[in-house]
Symmetry: C2
Subunit: 227 residues, 2 copies
């Protein structure tokens, strides 16, 4: 196998160092940020009375901070603000990888694990700015076209953030691999690419004929991969 | 909004009852199983020294048990076997939902939250059978075409399971929704469908010309959705 070197950036902590398959570990912020920015939804892990919970949640990033949001009444948000320990996991599946042994079946993927403490965005102006950044991250140019938020809507929305500091990425991108000698086994081996794709936009019944749908920034990012 | 009723099946516990947006809650096993079976990778949450961790992991289901596997040396597997509390979260994004206010932007999705304790499949025959079920779940008919596993490979692989008992599904499938009056706001609203799609298989250099690639069972499931 010829997985790329993890490079010269060291892991920020033992807890996020990639121990299994260390050649898949990446600790540079460019790789970590690219995976976070390509994720519409990530998994937020937290603990209540010793029981782990994992909630899928839309995320967005501004500089060194990762954000997520939800109803101010949500259990997940009420339980994770105020400096509570969380883990955010982002994952993109890039290919199913089929080998000639069951053992060497795998997937190509990009993932990030981020540990830290979550805090609420308390300042109203900052909260508004972060929600604007969320909408603009997915749909550039859209915020100014929307009906502006009411005070009640802002109050009903909680925005949380954590620092991107104790983080690692794990990337597998090498396709199929067989044990020496297995190549002659008469079965198919290789990769089946997997991607998130967007279908034709479906306007609601109030959209005037001919009004174009917004561009999704994520779509452009994915098509950069070449298929 | 016209989200479907949660039906007559009650939640199995307070911990997994869908409290925010209860109309999105589903507690029937048919819905829960369908979402799990459509998930190639889910998120496994566990706790080490009070810190939550979330690891993306391939899952498969046989009857009332959910399985995942990995290297016997993996931290996640060593830390989650033996009756440890875990949370498995499966999530599929079905559409981006755009409204005329930022507040009513959303996504359509299907998700499952599963709480319980994870145990190792210790019996060698059962372990082999579960790994066979894993391969056959994704690639029907493939197991018998593979080079059989060695004892060393089996020993290097740990399979975990948990019971599907304390579980809930959460489904949003209603598309765009605006506050009364917002319909006249001059911006686009509606849904942009999102799907996981498979590209053309890429054979490795040992595959004979003309050998067909395996069918991925998940592909058929997704194309059933009609686009």
């Amino acid at each position: 196998m010829s997985e790329r070197s993890a490079g010269s950036v060291p892991p920020p902590s033992e807890r996020v160092r990639v121990r299994r398959k260390p050649e898949r570990g990446r600790y540079d912020r460019a790789t970590i940020d690219a995976i976070l920015d390509a994720s519409i939804v990530a998994s937020v892990g937290y603990v209540i009375d010793g029981q782990p919970f994992v909630t899928p949640t839309a995320i967005w990033r501004t500089g060194d901070r990762l954000f997520w949001h939800g109803s101010s009444a949500s259990r997940m948000l009420r339980r994770t603000k105020g400096g509570v320990l969380v883990c955010v996991s982002a994952f993109q599946l890039d290919a199913l990888v089929l080998a000639r042994s069951g053992f060497n079946h795998s997937v190509d993927y990009r993932s990030v694990m981020l540990l830290g403490r979550a805090y609420e965005v308390e300042d109203e102006e900052e909260k508004l700015a972060s929600l604007r950044a969320f909408v603009e991250h997915l749909y550039p140019g859209r915020w100014d076209e929307l009906r502006p938020p009411t005070r009640q809507e802002l109050k009903a929305t909680t925005v949380l953030w954590m620092e991107i500091a104790e983080a690692s990425a794990k990337v597998r991108d090498v396709g199929a691999h067989d044990e020496p000698g297995d190549e002659r086994w008469p079965t198919w081996a290789g990769s089946i690419p997997v991607a998130v794709t967007f279908g034709a936009p479906i306007p609601d019944r109030f959209v005037p004929v001919g009004m174009p749908a917004p561009i999704v920034a994520l779509a452009a990012r994915r098509s950069d991969q070449g298929w």
